[in-house]
């Protein structure tokens, strides 16, 4: 497996995030084991794995919502403080009532000071900052629309603006491409690439399929059965590394710029299972 410190090519300086030997046990079951990887400033990292592989648990540990059983989380070289403004979080599409009286601009403003007491005083600076963020994610034309009435891709952009406005160093996106149509998917990927380039912001993006993220990721962290392998796509997404990670033979096929990951026919018990794995590309 690739060394966690290797391949930090984007930017210089200490890693914005470092997971050092993280282990997590939940109700008597080992969910994560010796997870270690780092993210350098401005680096875009894909966290790839099937449902239940441990991606969400890794996010919860980084966000401080879950204390690991072993290991350390370092943010900019320091142990994680309780309130951390340098890590922003964009959850998976949240089911909001379409009639909820909350506009895109209200949600973005809450990203600035939603943790504070009292009612915000109307301020020109605050309004300008919110407009600027909405502009940055291409959400200006639905700034006054109710968040619950937006499409998945639109909501994703507003949530990114909500996270961006507090000027984090690292943004965690939880399955941002899930349930998006192809065009919205492309828009979100382009947006991530642009923000990473313009603002030097690092990203950790979880997904079950690596392919849509290929144009934007600098490195990948592959998760299976609570173990991870990290490095560049070429280092990690290979038959030998994934075979070791999954514990049974895995084929990696590169086809017209796409990567297909599939269980080996020889080791797949039933035919149906094999078809599933090839179809899902990463659903080994």
């Amino acid at each position: 497996m690739a060394d966690p410190a290797s391949g930090m090519m984007a930017g210089a300086g200490p890693p914005v995030l470092e997971l050092d030997g993280i282990g997590v046990w939940l109700s008597g079951r080992e969910v994560l084991r010796d997870v270690r990887f780092g993210i350098g400033p401005g680096e875009v990292v894909g966290l790839i794995g099937a449902n239940g592989a441990g991606k969400t648990t890794i996010f919860r540990v980084v966000l401080g919502l879950l204390s690991p059983t072993s290991g350390r989380v370092l943010i900019a070289g320091q142990p994680r403080p309780r309130r951390n403004r340098s890590v922003g979080y964009v959850p998976q599409k949240i089911a909001l009532d379409p009639e909820m009286p909350l506009r895109s601009r209200d949600l973005v403003a809450l990203g600035l000071d939603g943790h504070r007491l009292g009612v915000p005083l109307p301020s020109r600076r605050r309004r300008e900052l919110v407009d600027e963020m909405l502009q940055a994610v291409g959400a200006a034309h639905f700034a006054d629309a109710r968040v619950g009435s937006l499409s998945g891709g639109e909501q994703q952009r507003v949530m990114i603006a909500h996270a961006l406005i507090s000027r984090p160093k690292l943004l965690l996106l939880d399955e941002p491409l899930a349930n998006l149509d192809l065009r919205s998917e492309q828009e979100v990927v382009d947006l991530v690439a642009r923000i990473a380039k313009d603002q030097g912001l690092a990203f950790l993006i979880s997904a079950h399929d690596l392919n849509p993220l290929l144009p934007v990721v600098d490195r990948v962290v592959y998760v299976a059965h609570g173990h991870v392998a990290s490095g560049t796509t070429d280092e990690v997404v290979t038959s030998s590394v994934l075979t070791e990670l999954y514990g049974h033979h895995v084929d990696v096929i590169r086809l017209h710029g796409r990567i297909l990951v599939a269980a080996s026919p020889g080791l797949s018990a039933e035919r149906g299972k094999l078809e599933d794995s090839i179809d899902g590309a990463t659903a080994v």
Binding site: P101, H115, S151, D181
Partner: protein, 285 residues
């Protein structure tokens, strides 16, 4: 209509309506309608118990309503929120039934606790009502942004270091305070209708949360003022008019939402059809 004991009725009803509008806005936003129904039932038990031992009824209301709020909050951390709320409510209702069975003025007592006596408000009730109202509104103003943030997604709030479960507990205590000031006036059953109908209507008319909360207060005031006036003129129970007007506001809100949704929605539907057609042609990334 505006003399003698009626002056107290107008004053207290106005205060109750303002607070019900402000707090009810968040009850609807957070999907806490069931809790807002359960807490007044707890308060009902408290008032019955306080009358039995000759203690102040506002004290009994506060103690039981807050106990109910704490019970719901603690139980729902370990299990499903609706089940926890239902259990807390049933226990409190059972206690209320027990306390009332010891009372000598069974029927009239029950009736006024459940349906209120807005026309029989005494001057001594004015001050406690006003104090509790100020406390409840001040708490909502203080927690405004935290209540909004945790209504969107508890995990989003937790990730920013805001403990969503603590905010929820604080909110249920606010509901308990509102309940305690309102039960002697409008009754355990009616405060619920005042907290749900007008705010649910207001959200259909305004997308800006601060405008929606002001609108909720206006609708709530309109509901209770008309209910008192009509009840005074017809001598029919005020409860009927509060419930019916609350529902009428809600229906008007729904109608507005459907009407404006039709206008806004049509272009969105067309756009998604285009994308589906694109997918159907077998375009792959």
């Amino acid at each position: 209509m505006f003399t003698g004991f009626m002056v107290n009725a107008w004053l207290v009803a106005t205060v109750v309506a303002v607070v019900a509008g402000v707090v009810g806005f968040f009850v609807v936003l957070r999907g806490s309608s069931f809790a807002a129904h359960a807490v007044p039932n707890a308060a009902f038990a408290g008032a019955a118990g306080a009358n039995l031992i000759g203690a102040s009824s506002v004290g009994g209301l506060l103690v039981f309503a807050i106990a109910g709020a704490l019970g719901i909050s603690l139980l729902s951390r370990r299990g499903r929120r609706d089940v926890a709320t239902a259990l807390a409510m049933v226990v409190m209702l059972a206690l209320g039934a027990l306390f009332l069975s010891f009372s000598t003025q069974y029927a009239s007592e029950t009736y006024s606790l459940l349906f209120g006596e807005v026309l029989g408000v005494s001057s001594s009730e004015l001050l406690p009502t006003a104090v509790l109202a100020v406390v409840a509104v001040a708490a909502v103003v203080l927690l405004w942004r935290l209540l909004l943030l945790t209504s969107i997604d508890p995990e989003l709030a937790d990730a920013r270091g805001v403990r969503a479960s603590h905010v929820e507990l604080a909110f249920l205590v606010i509901v308990a305070v509102v309940t305690s000031m309102s039960v002697p006036v409008v009754g355990a059953l009616l405060i619920f209708s005042l907290m749900i109908g007008p705010p649910a209507a207001a959200r259909s008319f305004a997308a800006d949360p601060s405008v929606a909360v002001l609108l909720a207060v206006c609708f709530s005031l309109a509901t209770i003022w008309s209910a008192i006036a009509v009840s005074y003129l017809t001598t029919l129970p005020i409860g009927f008019f509060v419930g019916a007007l609350g529902a009428a506001f809600y229906l008007a809100g729904r109608a507005h939402a459907v009407w404006s949704g039709k206008r806004v929605g049509s272009s969105g539907v067309r756009a998604s059809r285009v994308v589906t057609a694109f997918d159907d042609q077998g375009a792959r990334r």
